[in-house]
């Protein structure tokens, strides 16, 4: 198709898609009592308003983000015309993320047409465009995470460290990427000779190469610097709402997590009774996303490993809403080209059908509860959340097997990538 031959076509379409949705949203907000704008956007912007009046962003109830986000959206307080500034920022974040996806794929040696096709999974995805233009910040986070991956693959360690620290400050979960990136940054990747060491000290010394040390220090400094600054500015409420809330929260209103009904049940009972599996939920989640997957896969294919980590984190999380799906959607264009989901279309279609089907089943039960008032908690919601969980686990299994089986495209492409870069330079 001629459409995918030019970045101009794809990016213009992606831009127009977002512009149309943004304008449509303005129209709907002005004329209908049902709002296009996400409630979260009202939360962000009123937190910005509090900051502009010299107050704490946490004066707005349910603002559970870093003050940095409210700072970024300060222009929304300049007047009614500026109200959509944040949505534009998030949509631009989408486009930047898409641009970086194309860059990463091209550096792997993929043809432009193919790279544009795969990046369209993100760029032309109506769900992604809708979420950003409704004013949800997930797209911005996606841009940060892809920029982090791009910087790592480009060996821009300082930039990668700063982005990692920033992303973790923003949403905590990108901390798992730190594990895979550090493990991936071995001598081979850095283009240095592999030194064999027999002593433990030697092995440790080999492991602590300058890139790893640099990335760790820069990301820690960025993360702690931001935290200390925010703590000085807003004190305990910053810690409470940005971080501690996520540990202690018990607002288990129905969501896709397999633990959801268990949390409802156990939170309403006495602390003593029951086995309390839910208090151990972080073990499988963190074991897979922060330990097993990074160490067993990252050296083979870093982008696909980050996808698997995110997938594991979201699948095994105690809370799971559809916004979290964006966290892994951004990695799909980087994984799918070498996946068995594409090489075996029957598998790919079954996986997609199961993912959509079990989600639809859950949504059907959720609708009956939320709007019809039917008690569908058990078996309806519970069983469909477990089926959705099993579908996700199935997909996760396919991803990690693919990563293991495939001769890593990125790992292999180090030379290729560098050579293609050289070629580009030559062309320029």
């Amino acid at each position: 198709m001629a459409f995918f031959t030019s970045p101009l076509y794809v990016f213009t379409t992606a831009f127009l898609l977002r512009l149309t949705l943004l304008l449509y949203g303005l129209y709907q907000d002005a004329h209908s009592p049902l709002k296009y704008t996400d409630i979260d956007y009202q939360v962000f912007t009123s937190a910005s308003l509090y900051i502009s009046r010299g107050q704490s962003p946490y004066a707005r109830e349910t603002y559970r983000y870093t003050p940095l986000l409210a700072f970024l959206l300060l222009p929304t307080t300049w007047g009614p015309i500026w109200f959509s500034f944040g949505k534009i920022l998030f949509a631009v974040g989408d486009l930047v993320a898409g641009f970086l996806i194309v860059r990463i794929l091209r550096n792997q040696g993929m043809s432009q047409e193919r790279a544009l096709k795969y990046s369209s999974i993100w760029l032309l995805n109506p769900m992604v465009a809708t979420i950003s233009t409704r004013g949800s910040s997930e797209g911005l986070l996606g841009a940060m995470v892809v920029a982090l991956l791009w910087a790592v693959l480009e060996k821009r360690i300082w930039l990668a460290g700063a982005l990692l620290g920033l992303a973790v400050h923003f949403k905590i979960y990108p901390v798992v990427y730190g594990m895979s990136i550090i493990w991936w940054l071995d001598a081979q990747q850095l283009g240095q000779g592999v030194k064999n060491a027999d002593t433990l000290m030697g092995k440790v010394k080999n492991f602590l190469n300058p890139a790893r040390v640099q990335l760790t220090i820069v990301s820690l400094l960025t993360f702690m610097g931001l935290n200390i600054t925010m703590y000085i500015l807003y004190g305990y409420p910053f810690l409470q709402h940005t971080y501690l809330h996520h540990v202690t929260r018990i607002d288990h209103r129905h969501n896709f997590s397999p633990y959801n009904i268990l949390l409802y049940l156990s939170s309403s009972q006495d602390a003593k009774s029951g086995i309390r599996f839910e208090s151990l939920a972080f073990i499988p989640q963190l074991f897979l996303s922060a330990i097993a997957i990074p160490f067993m896969s990252s050296k083979k294919d870093l982008p696909a490993t980050m996808l698997a980590q995110t997938f594991a984190f979201v699948t095994f999380n105690k809370v799971c809403t559809s916004q979290y799906f964006l966290w892994y959607t951004i990695f799909l264009p980087l994984y799918l080209p070498n996946s068995s989901l594409i090489s075996n279309p029957r598998l790919g279609i079954s996986v997609l059908a199961a993912w959509i089907g079990t989600q639809a089943l859950w949504l059907h039960q959720g609708f009956a509860l939320e709007f019809l008032g039917k008690s569908t908690f058990v078996p309806g919601l519970w069983v469909s959340s477990l089926l959705f969980f099993l579908t996700n686990v199935w997909i996760l299994g396919i991803i990690v097997q693919d990563v293991g089986r495939n001769h890593s495209p990125i790992g292999q492409s180090i030379q290729k990538g560098e050579s293609s870069k050289k070629i580009e330079k030559v062309v320029k």
Binding site: A30, I39, S375
Partner: protein
């Protein structure tokens, strides 16, 4: 102890003073009358030193205490007691500092038992029978403040037929009895009463009286009923059906606005951020949110909260066309504890609906002997505001409550949840680990290959 007992009658039922028998003796003075059809208010004031020890100690630590209780039964009212019709099933205390609300369907077990044991002496049969009469009371107020240093209990009964037989056994304690009829007032915002007053123990016959006073609360012929839009789901919408949209005064004469005051249990809550968009408010025939309890957690399940609930005051926007209209108030349900039949029935009091009319002629209300303040919403308006109340119409069973079924987790069905979730997560986890190991094995070969390449 001082007592003021007032019977208020419709003009057509006015009692002939000849049928009121008054006796005066050194020990026992009495007042009696048969077949008096009237609403009744008893107001008893206790001096600080007359109170039982524990009450004395409790009140010593208080600056002000106001308790309001209203029966959940639907009943009719007469002029001065207009405000008594609203806020059913409630025990309400309001001061600048704290506020607490809990449903209480009857006074019988707690309050009446306490009065019988602590206030009445065993032998005093009149005291005991007066306490028993509280069975049928429509409302009860208890007030204390440090300035008056006195505790006042005021009870109100809706119109019924009374055989009055009152005794005063202690001439030092004042007992004033009024049998009064409602008289058409001179001014619209006034109330006029005419009839007979007797101080039992001092007077030998009733003395005629006629007086008028401005009143804070008035009744309107307009009525309202409330119900939920069906299905209620987890976001029930409370629908107010109001019989007329006409204000009590023409707008050019005085500007009045229609308000709804809701007292909600913690299981049901309003989201204040929902009431900020003018388009949204207009679509529900609302105009503004004037007051809401703060803070209200928008996420927590009911059983983790320690607060009792919330109140909110909304201004309604009656449409200019059409006599009757409906307004809708969006509410949200919290998760409630799991139950055996997968649902929990939730009840809460009818809202109070009134037109609030600011009075700007320097009117004050201290001379109204039946004035009633601290009813929950009056403090949210200026001191010179008049309230014109719409009468609630109970939808079923004569009770002024709204009820709805809340879906909850069924306890029977959830026996498997704990183990089932644990097992499925374990299987999922094991599968991923197995896939990782399979992949890793495959990858190992790749590494060896690379190693070989290097050697080459």
């Amino acid at each position: 102890m001082r007592q003021r007992i007032t019977f208020i009658q419709e003009p057509e039922y006015s009692t002939d003073p000849k049928t009121i028998h008054v006796t005066k003796n050194e020990k026992i003075s009495t007042l009696s009358a048969k077949n008096v059809i009237a609403a009744r208010e008893d107001r008893i004031t206790f001096g600080f030193e007359e109170l039982p020890q524990e009450l004395y100690r409790l009140l010593k630590g208080c600056h002000e205490l106001h308790i309001r209780w209203v029966s959940e039964r639907e009943y009719s009212t007469l002029g001065p007691m207009a405000s008594f019709t609203k806020l059913p099933v409630e025990r309400f205390s309001l001061s600048a500092a704290t506020q607490y609300y809990t449903p209480l369907s009857s006074l019988k077990d707690g309050f009446q038992t306490y009065l019988e044991n602590k206030i009445c002496s065993r032998s005093n049969s009149m005291c005991l029978s007066r306490v028993q009469e509280l069975d049928t009371a429509a409302s009860l107020d208890i007030d204390y403040d440090t300035i008056s240093h006195a505790l006042t209990i005021t009870a109100f009964w809706p119109p019924t037929q009374w055989d009055i037989d009152l005794q005063n056994t202690n001439p030092k304690e004042r007992m004033e009895v009024g049998i009064l009829s409602v008289v058409p007032p001179q001014e619209r915002e006034e109330l006029s009463l005419g009839g007979f007053l007797t101080v039992v123990g001092e007077d030998t016959k009733p003395s005629p009286t006629l007086f008028s006073f401005p009143a804070r609360h008035h009744s309107l012929p307009q009525t309202f009923s409330t119900s939920f839009n069906s299905p209620t789901g987890l976001h029930p919408t409370l629908k107010l059906s109001i019989s007329a949209s006409e204000p009590p005064f023409p707008p050019d004469e005085r500007s009045c606005s229609l308000h709804a005051h809701l007292t909600l249990p913690r299981a049901l809550f309003p989201d204040k951020y929902q009431f900020s968009d003018p388009l949204y408010l207009a679509s529900k025939n609302l105009s503004a949110l004037h007051h809401i309890t703060s803070p209200i957690d928008l996420e927590a399940p009911s059983y983790t909260l320690t607060t009792w609930g919330s109140t909110l005051l909304l201004a309604l926007a009656p449409p200019t066309l059409g006599p009757s209209f409906t307004a809708e108030i969006p509410l949200h349900l919290r998760y409630l504890p799991p139950s055996h039949n997968s649902s929990t029935y939730l009840e809460f009091a009818y809202p109070t609906l009134f037109w609030a009319c600011p009075e700007d002629e320097g009117t004050k209300f201290p001379i109204n002997p039946f004035d009633r303040t601290n009813v929950g919403y009056d403090g949210l308006f200026g001191p010179r505001t008049m309230f014109y109340h719409l009468s609630p119409e109970a939808s079923e069973g004569g009770r002024l409550v709204n009820g709805l079924e809340v879906p909850v987790l069924g306890l029977e069905a959830s026996g498997w949840v704990e183990w089932g979730t644990g097992a499925v997560v374990a299987v999922g986890f094991a599968w991923v680990v197995w896939c990782l190991l399979v992949g890793w094995g495959g990858g190992y070969g790749g590494k060896k290959e690379e190693g070989r390449k290097k050697r080459e």
